[in-house]
Symmetry: C2
Subunit: 638 residues, 2 copies
Amino acid sequence: MGGSSNRIEDFSGVLDLESSLPVSATVVVPPVEIHKVSVPPKRGALQSLKQRLGEVFFPDDPLHQFKGQSFFRKLALGLQYFFPILQWGPEYSLSLLKSDVVSGLTIASLAIPQGISYAKLANLPPIIGLYSSFVPPLVYSVLGSSKDLAVGPVSIASLVMGSMLREAISPDKEPILYLQLAFTATLFAGVFQASLGLLRLGFIVDFLSTPTLIGFMGGSAIIVSLQQLKGLLGIVHFTTQMGFVPVMLSVFKHKTESLRRPKLFWVSAAAPLASVILSTLVVYIFKAQKHGVQTIGHLQQGLNPPSLNMLYFHGQFVGLAVKTGIITGILSLTEGIAVGRTFASLKNYQIDGNKEMMAIGLMNMAGSCVSCYVTTGSFSRSAVNYNAGSKTAVSNIVMASAVLITMLFLMPLFYYTPNLILSAIIITAVIGLIDFRGTARLWKVDKLDFLACISAFFGVLFLSVQMGLAIAVGISIFKVLIHVTRPNTVLLGNIPGTQCYQNLGHYRDACRIPSFLILGVESPIFFTNSTYLQERILRWVREEEERVARTKDNNTLKCVVMDLSAVTAIDTSGIEALTELKKTLNRRSLQLVLANPVGEVIEKLHRSDAMEHFGTNNLYMTVAEAVAGQSSLFKAQP
Amino acid sequence: MGGSSNRIEDFSGVLDLESSLPVSATVVVPPVEIHKVSVPPKRGALQSLKQRLGEVFFPDDPLHQFKGQSFFRKLALGLQYFFPILQWGPEYSLSLLKSDVVSGLTIASLAIPQGISYAKLANLPPIIGLYSSFVPPLVYSVLGSSKDLAVGPVSIASLVMGSMLREAISPDKEPILYLQLAFTATLFAGVFQASLGLLRLGFIVDFLSTPTLIGFMGGSAIIVSLQQLKGLLGIVHFTTQMGFVPVMLSVFKHKTESLRRPKLFWVSAAAPLASVILSTLVVYIFKAQKHGVQTIGHLQQGLNPPSLNMLYFHGQFVGLAVKTGIITGILSLTEGIAVGRTFASLKNYQIDGNKEMMAIGLMNMAGSCVSCYVTTGSFSRSAVNYNAGSKTAVSNIVMASAVLITMLFLMPLFYYTPNLILSAIIITAVIGLIDFRGTARLWKVDKLDFLACISAFFGVLFLSVQMGLAIAVGISIFKVLIHVTRPNTVLLGNIPGTQCYQNLGHYRDACRIPSFLILGVESPIFFTNSTYLQERILRWVREEEERVARTKDNNTLKCVVMDLSAVTAIDTSGIEALTELKKTLNRRSLQLVLANPVGEVIEKLHRSDAMEHFGTNNLYMTVAEAVAGQSSLFKAQP
C-alpha cells in the first residue's frame, strides 16, 4: 500500500472531447465479481419519519448527555442547559475574574460611546443606547453559552430599525410613538428569536448566506456613512430617506450651504472613548457649543426606567412593528450566532445555535420591558473582548457595571460631547464592514455567490434595506434551485487497470468502454429536472450514436449505464422519468441499467412500479459491475 | 465476468447499527494503487459561462440539425422549424387524410358540446367556446409540432379564468367588461406563453409537479361539479363565490327551495354529442322549456367576429387581466405540454417544449383578436384523437371545419338544448380528473409529494384556486430546499474483498475499517447546510469516539474520510465549512481527507485558499485509496 507523494497534477489546455480522448479498443476492465444490490432494511413509516424529523430538528442530538443519568443528575444537567452560568459559575476563580475585569472594562470603553452613537443611528435618544448596554448583557451572562460574546446595540440592526420605522413615523415629530414602536419591535424581535430557537428552526438563519451578508453590510455601511455626513458636515436640513440617491442629492444640495467645516476630523477609530473625552474637553474649554457645534446636551441620570406600559399592541402601526421586529430580529440573530460560533471555534468549544437563539430572544424580550432596543453580540466588541483575554460571560457583567456607574454618576459629563464625534465613531465602526477582499474572493471562487453579494449591495444602496436583503436571499435560493433544475450530467470512462469510472472531461486517462454510454447524473432527480434529464440523456444517446457512426466504430451502442451515486433522492416525477426513459431506450433496442443507487432510491424504485420495467437484473452496485454484467450478456446473445 | 441472475435480496428486520454490524479486526482491503486527483482542464470564465448557459437554456441543442448544412438547406430547415407543417405537409397522402378525417370528426363531436360547456364554466357566452374551437386549432396545425394534440378550450383553464375574473366583475351585470377582460387575459396568457418559449424559460412549467397537478385538478373537479349542481338542480339564486364552503352552503340553503328535479340524469359521459342531440329533441318534442327547463336559447350564427377593439389596456382591471392571463397561461401550458409529451413518447417522436410554448402562445394571441378565450391541448380530446387514429395536425383542421359548419348552419339547432345537459357534460369530464389511484401511489412512494398533492387539493377546495396552487408550489420548492438544508450523511464501510464502500445501514456485509470514520455526504455543500454539516460531522466523530471507548477497541479513531462523490457542487460557505472542519479536527489530532471530489469541487478548492489547509495529499480519487494511503502513513509514524 504505497502512496505517491505528489498527488495533484495541475494541467491546463483545453480538452477536445472528440479527438483527444483515448477509446480503449478492447474491454480492459479486470474481472469483476458481481454483488447484489440489496434493499435497505425495512422500517416503519413512523420510525423513518421520527428519524427524519430528528435529523431536521435535532441534528446535534442535544439530549445525548442526559442518556443513562440519574434523575438528580438529569435535573442538574437540565438547569445547567438552560442557565449555563450554573455550569461555569461554581468553578469560577480569582484568576479568571482578573482577566474578565480587564476585558470587561476594555469593552465598556467601546460600548459606552458606541451605545450612544448606535441609538442615534436608530433615531432613538442616546440614553437608550446606554440602557441597552446594561440590562441585556446581564441577562445574556446568565442564559448565554458563549464565553466571548460582547452584548449590546449593533450598527446593522440599529440602522435597519431606524430606516424601517422612519418610513412611517417621524422620530422628531412623534418621538413618543416612535419610541413605543421601537420597544414593541424589540419585543417582537425577541419573541421571534426565542421562537426560532424553541421550535428549533434555527436553520432559517442559514438562508442569510455569507455572500449576502457581505454585500448587505457593505451597502449599509455606505448608507450609514453618507447619513453621518449630516453630523460631520453639520448639515441641518438633511433628507430623512434611506437610499443612496436621496442621500447623495441631499449632500450635494447642501454643498452650497455655508458649511461649518468640522474642526475635529482627525479622530482615530482606535480610541472612541479617548476621542469622546478629548472632544468633550475641547468643546467645554473653548465653549464651542456657543459657536455652532452641536452637542448631546442634557442626559437623564439614573437606571433603566420600565417601558412595559409603552408596548404598543393596537392601532395601525402594529404591522410595522412586527415587520421591523422580524427583520431586525433575524439580522441581529445572524450576527450574534455567527460571532458566537466564530469565537467558539477559535477556543475549540461548541455552542448550541438553537439555545443561543433562545438566550438572545429572552434578552431582547426582557430588554423591551426596561427601555432597551434590539441588542445582540457585536462583532467588533466581541473581537476586542476576545483579544483582551475574556474568559467567561463575567466580562459582560463587568461591562454592564461600568455602564451602570456611567448612567448613575457620569451623565453630566456628556453634556458637552459634540454630535460629530458620534458620527465619526459610527463611520469608523461601519467602514470596517466593507469587505473588499471577501468580495474579490467570492468573484474568484463562485460567480453566483458574487452575484448575490453585489445584488445585496446595490439593492441596499439604490432601493431599500429590505429590498436589498430580499433580492439577495432570492438569488441565493435561486442558486440552490437552478442546481436541481439543470443538473450536470457527465460522461464517465474507466481509469485503466482499475474498476473506477471518472468524468471523461476531467480525468485525461479515463477511457470510453465500447458499446457502452456511461452517464453520471449529478443531482437528485426531482420534478424540477425530471423532464430535462430525460431530454438531456436522449441527447447524449443521439450524440454518442452520431460519434460511433462518424468514427466508423464497429461497436454500436448497446447499453446506457446511469451512475446514480450522486442521485441522493428521487421523487415520483423522477421515478416516472426513469421509467419513461427505460421504455424509450428499449424501443430503440438499447439497454438502460442503473449503477449504485442509494438506499432511498432503491426503496422508492421498489415501492413504485418502476421495478416492473427495470427488473432486478438491471440494478448494479457499481458501474464496473454493470459493465461486466452487461458485457457478458452481449456475449451470450450476439 | 459472470453475473449472478437473482440480484435483489429483499430482507427485512430492523438493523441495530451498534451490535450487529461486523467490524473487521484487521484491514482486509486488497492492495490499492493510488491515483492522482487531477484538476479539471482549465477553461476561461467566458467559455465555462457559455457552456453553463447553454445547459440551462439550450439543453436539447436545438440547432444541432443546422450544423454543417448549406445556406438554403439551413433556410429550409429554419422554416420547417418554425412551421412544422412544411415538414410533414409535402409528404401528406390520401391514406393519412382518411385517418385524420375520421379522428377529426370524432373529436369535433366532443369539441362542440364541450366548447359550449366550458365557455359557460368561464362565465362566457356559449358561442365563445365554439369560436375558440375554430381559430386556435387552425393556428396550431400550422405552428405546432405534436401530431396528436386536440386543441380547444379546457376545463381547468376555463374554471380558473371564470373564478378569477368573477371575483372582481359580475359576468351578469357587466357582460361587456367581463368579455373584454377575458379576451385581454387571453392575450396576456398568449404573450406570457410565447415569451417563456422564446426566452427558453420553459423549465418554469416544471415547477408545477405532477403531485401538485393531481391535487389541484382533484380539488377543481369537485368545485366545478358542485357549481354545476346549479345547472343540474336548477337552483337560480346560486353563490358566485368559488370554494367548497360557500358552494356547499348554497346547495344546502337551496335544498328547501322547490327543486325541479332533473328529468334527464341518465346521460352517459361516453357520448356527449348524442346526449345533446337527444336532450334537445326531448325538450323540443315535449316543449319542456315551457315547463321550467332552461335551455341555451338563441345563438348568433356566423364566423368569429374580430375582438381586437375589445382588448382592455387601461383602467383598474388591467392588473387583474395580467394576473389571470399568467395563471391561466401557465396552467394551460402545463396541460398542453404534458399532453403533447405523453403522446409523442407513445408514438416515439420528440417535441421541443420551448417551441410548443411559442406555438400555444401565438395561438392564444391570435385567438384573443378573434373572440377566442384561452385554449390549449385538451387531455381528454387528445386521447380520443390518438385512439381514433389521428396521424397529423390535419385532424385539427378537420375538427375546425366541422365547428365552422356548425357555426354557419347549425346554430338554431341548439336553441332547445337544455342547460343541464351542459352541466352533465362538464361533470362527467371533470370527474375523470380526480385521480384516487395516483394519490394512493404518491402516499406509497413519497410522503412529501403526497403532502403537496393534498395541500393543493384542500387549498383549492377551502381557500381559492390561486392559494391552493401557491401552497402546493411552495411545498414542492420547500421539498427541494429541505433536501439541501438537512442532507443525509451516512456511515460507509468496506464490502469485503472489494474496493467498494457502501452505506453500513444499507449493506449488511459492509465492514467498518478500524481507526477510520468514513462519511458520505449526500448533497451539494451550500450555505444552507454548511453549518449543519459541520455540526453533524462533529457529532459523528463524537459518537464514533464514544463507541470505540465503549467497545474497548485498541484502534482509536485517527482519520475521518469524507466521500464527496455525491457533493456535486460547493459554494464559498461550503468551502469555509470544510476548512473550519479540517482545523477543528486537526486540533483534536484527527486527519480529515477528502475522497472523490468532482471537477467543480476540486476547481473551487484550488481557487480558494482551502488547499493551503488540505494540502494536495489529503485528496484521494476513491475512498479505498484514501484508506490505503492514510493507513500507510499511520504505519510510518506509529
